[in-house]
């Protein structure tokens, strides 16, 4: 964007019409495929449904609050009604008594819609192989991303969200059932766990959990008590993995 400072005087020279025209032209054009543009828009304006089943919901709520702040990824407009949302995070155990309600809510979500299965219970039943629990929400809902953990940390949910955004961009869904084929073209996607296996296998020594390590709390509070120049952390190289 171009900008200039102009004195607030009545006879100050205005930008010439040509300059304005050129500026508008530079701003106003974007060449992209419509599909990509729509997918990009969808990926970064997910509206999650305010829906929780059990313990995982507390970690999901934590992901929305200050320290984690999921809104950085463009998915913070939590809606209280499924009719205004296009993402449902199945946060918790799917109970037999609750499953028809979950199905009912899913049916009410706006198309196109996505499902994140959060936590072991929603993924597979987890540790609750018990009469009252459905062994995974994918027994009746199509799941886009599975987030492991019991419950998953807020960071894990945020990673799940970014994975979903990548998937939305990579596998666009039709605009409506009236335009083109219904459903998405499913592509094989390796799991992030498999991706990282080679890196993880290189670790030969695991640290004993005998000291608190670089505990975030102490560092944070110490900084508050005595302001000292921040020391670069271990990952302070600025490089992404």
């Amino acid at each position: 964007m171009e900008w200039r400072l102009v004195k607030a005087e009545a006879d100050a020279p205005m930008a010439s019409a040509d300059e304005v025209y050129q500026e508008q032209v530079a701003k106003g054009f974007l060449t992209a495929k419509l599909d990509d543009l729509v997918a990009w828009g969808r990926a970064h304006s997910l509206w999650p449904f305010n829906f929780g089943l059990s313990c995982c919901y507390v970690e999901m709520a934590t992901a929305l609050t200050s320290r984690h702040d999921m809104s950085r990824f463009g998915a913070e407009v939590i809606r209280a009604t499924p009719r205004q949302a296009d993402l449902i995070v199945i946060a918790g155990t799917v109970f037999r008594k609750m499953a028809p309600v979950v199905q009912h809510l899913y049916d009410q979500l706006l198309e196109p819609k996505w499902v994140i299965s959060m936590g072991s219970c929603a993924n597979s039943g987890g540790m609750f192989d018990i009469y009252s629990v459905v062994q995974g929400v994918d027994k009746f809902l199509p799941v886009d991303v599975y987030v492991p953990g019991c419950p998953p940390r807020p960071e894990a949910l945020m990673q799940g969200l970014t994975l979903l955004q990548e998937a939305i961009k990579a596998r666009p869904r039709p605009y409506s059932w009236m335009v083109g084929e219904d459903g998405e073209v499913s592509k094989y996607q390796p799991s992030p766990r498999d991706d990282r296996t080679p890196v993880r296998m290189r670790v030969t020594e695991l640290e004993e959990p005998s000291h608190v390590g670089d505990a975030p709390l102490s560092k944070e509070l110490l900084r508050q008590k005595s302001p000292s120049p921040a020391t670069p952390g271990r990952d302070g190289t600025g490089k992404r993995r």
Binding site: R96, A99, F128, D129, I130, Q135, K139, S218
Partner: protein
């Protein structure tokens, strides 16, 4: 610090033996007495005398703490107990005498019905519905003996021994249109079933379904409301959407591997849930826990009390309309969780207590973290107090709303902060100090009015008291082992393994099967984050529990909602629900 257990007030204060004898004299010779490991006298009462006996006992034992059943059909160690296929038990508490009594009734399989206690204790209503749902025991003259935890269309009674435990033993779940329709239909609220009329002289009532998914019901909880305009005429809470079968799970996990399931009962209470369970197992096995483990347990439990109360505080303010407090409180929860994580490795569900102690020793540097936190937090609590509890709007929304008095609290089995908000000075940590709490200096916060505001104020003050306890743990952490040197303490020390074949076998069995607990019954209750939580374990001399009864505080708390919300507006009901501080896992288990 030396932790000395006070002699547990096992039966009635004073002279337990005499009191029990007097009770037996009064009740008659057909009452059989059984002693259990927890020291609570168990009185076996013939079922035709139940109402008469209970009616007489209510004067002395006004709190119906628990009511459930046991399927006795495959139990091998029933030495001297009256014959019966099912046992229904009633746990009564006298606050004045600080004593407990358990009444038991034996029932044959073909004829398992007994009189309902709802005419004596209104709080028996839900408990009897649960016993009916789980065991198929019939309670005559119960006003609405419907299923409460399982879906209305469920077949069988899950806690009967013949009912499958695993989902994978049953037919796989399939979502069909028929099921969807049938279940939606079964959820249709029919006012007549609950004795409600559809209209009064000048008004037609509206029936509003709130939940099971609603942002302000704190989980999967449903209330059907009978409304006159915006005023709540009556309400019917509907639970069971969060039933995870935690009690049935106890019958198939080893004593040790059940610990993670306890974390998930009150999922905001973390390791505090482990405490009553491991203490009950330790009592049955006769394990004496070392002082260091006791103090570590208390410290971690109090951390989780703070975490739970912070979440309560934030969501309470949010439900009343303050948007920001919850962000402050969650940020402090994160500070707290970084300590929990450094010590236990987990966040919400560390499952870190063990039979005989805790999972591992405190890590190097723990004291700095804890000291930072207890130095930092009190000023924050003051700040939040000013921000939320001193706020005029919040006060006007909550003072005088959802009020009940001490007598009603006892009548309905309300415990914990909800009980103390009425001015009743009863904290199990003071009245029946367990696990070393008698060595700590703290106060029991009380309020007087028993309304939504007081329930909040009591919890805020409890955060300060918990910080006080944690500071004492920090300053006086005893040295020594973090786990008992006892053959039943699990898991056994690895260092003793590789000596010879005997030690290897010992270790292998203790790790794979876990400890074998002698046949006994034991219940332990603690002052959990939301009220009194108790585990009543029955061992049949095996590697698994024969019956695990989890008495959770939130269950009776929800039952009381109609009583305290009649005549208020819907918005007040939201405040009432928020002030109760429940999680559905703590209700439905």
């Amino acid at each position: 610090m030396k932790v000395i257990e006070k002699p547990v007030p096992e039966t009635a204060a004073g002279e337990p033996g005499n009191e029990l004898e007097a009770l037996r004299q009064r009740l008659g010779p057909d009452i059989q007495i059984q002693q259990t490991a927890d020291g609570i006298p168990n009185l076996w009462v013939p079922r035709d005398r139940l109402l008469e006996v209970m009616g007489g006992l209510k004067k002395d034992y006004p709190l119906l703490f628990d009511l459930s059943a046991v399927d006795e059909r495959v139990r091998s160690h029933r030495d001297g107990l009256p014959d019966g296929d099912f046992t229904v038990f009633y746990h009564l508490i006298s606050l004045a005498k600080n004593s407990d009594l358990r009444i038991k009734v034996a029932l044959p399989e073909g004829d398992s019905s007994l009189p309902s206690l709802t005419s004596v204790w209104p709080a028996a209503n839900w408990y009897e519905r649960e016993a009916y749902d789980m065991f198929g025991v019939n309670f005559d003259n119960h006003p609405n003996l419907y299923r409460i935890l399982t879906p209305a269309l469920w077949e069988g009674h899950p806690l009967r021994k013949e009912h499958p435990a695993r989902a994978t033993e049953m037919d796989p779940f399939r979502m069909t249109d028929e099921l969807l329709d049938a279940q939606q239909e079964s959820l249709r609220f029919k006012p007549e079933e609950w004795g409600m009329s559809r209209g009064a002289k000048h008004t037609d009532f509206m029936f509003l379904n709130l939940g099971p998914n609603h942002p302000s019901v704190h989980g999967v909880f449903r209330i059907a409301l009978q409304l006159d305009g915006e005023v709540v005429v009556d309400a019917v809470p509907d639970i069971g959407y969060h039933h995870r079968g935690a009690e049935k799970m106890g019958e198939r996990q080893s004593w040790h591997t059940y610990i993670p399931y306890t974390d998930r009962v009150d999922y905001l209470g973390g390791v505090m849930n482990n405490l009553p369970y491991v203490m009950a197992v330790e009592k049955m096995a006769g394990i004496e826990v070392p002082d260091r483990a006791k103090v570590i347990r208390i410290m971690m439990s109090e951390f989780f009390r703070i975490a739970s109360h912070l979440l309560f505080f934030g969501t309470f303010a949010q439900d009343i309309g303050q948007m920001s407090p919850v962000f402050y409180m969650f940020a402090d929860r994160e500070r707290l969780f970084s300590i929990v994580e450094a010590i236990t490795g987990g966040r919400m569900h560390p499952s870190w207590f063990r039979i005989g102690g805790v999972g591992q020793d405190l890590p190097e540097g723990w004291d700095t973290m804890v000291r930072d936190f207890v130095d930092y937090m009190p000023a924050r609590v003051d700040h939040y107090d000013k921000m939320a509890t001193q706020n005029g709007i919040l006060k006007r929304r909550t003072i005088g709303v959802g009020q009940y008095n001490s007598a009603e609290a006892v009548e309905w089995g309300i415990t914990g902060p909800g009980m103390r908000a009425t001015g009743l000075d009863w904290d199990l940590r003071k009245q029946r100090p367990y696990g070393g709490y008698d060595q700590f200096d703290f106060e029991v916060p009380l309020a007087a009015n028993g309304d939504c505001y007081d329930r909040c104020v009591v919890r805020v003050e409890e955060i300060r008291q918990s910080l006080r306890i944690i500071r004492q743990c920090l300053d006086n952490m005893p040295a020594g082992p973090y786990k008992a040197d006892h053959p039943q303490a699990t898991p056994p020390p690895k260092e003793r393994t590789m000596q010879d074949i005997e030690t290897l076998i010992q270790h292998f069995l203790n790790v794979s099967w876990g400890p074998v607990i002698p046949p006994s019954e034991c219940s332990v209750m603690i002052e959990a984050t939301k009220g009194w939580n108790s585990y009543y374990l029955t061992s049949d001399g095996g590697t698994m529990s024969y019956r695990t009864r989890i008495r959770t505080p939130s269950f009776p708390h929800l039952q009381m909602i109609p009583l305290i919300s009649r005549g208020f507006m819907i918005a007040d009901l939201i405040a009432i629900i928020a002030s109760i501080d429940f999680v559905m896992a703590d209700v439905d288990r």
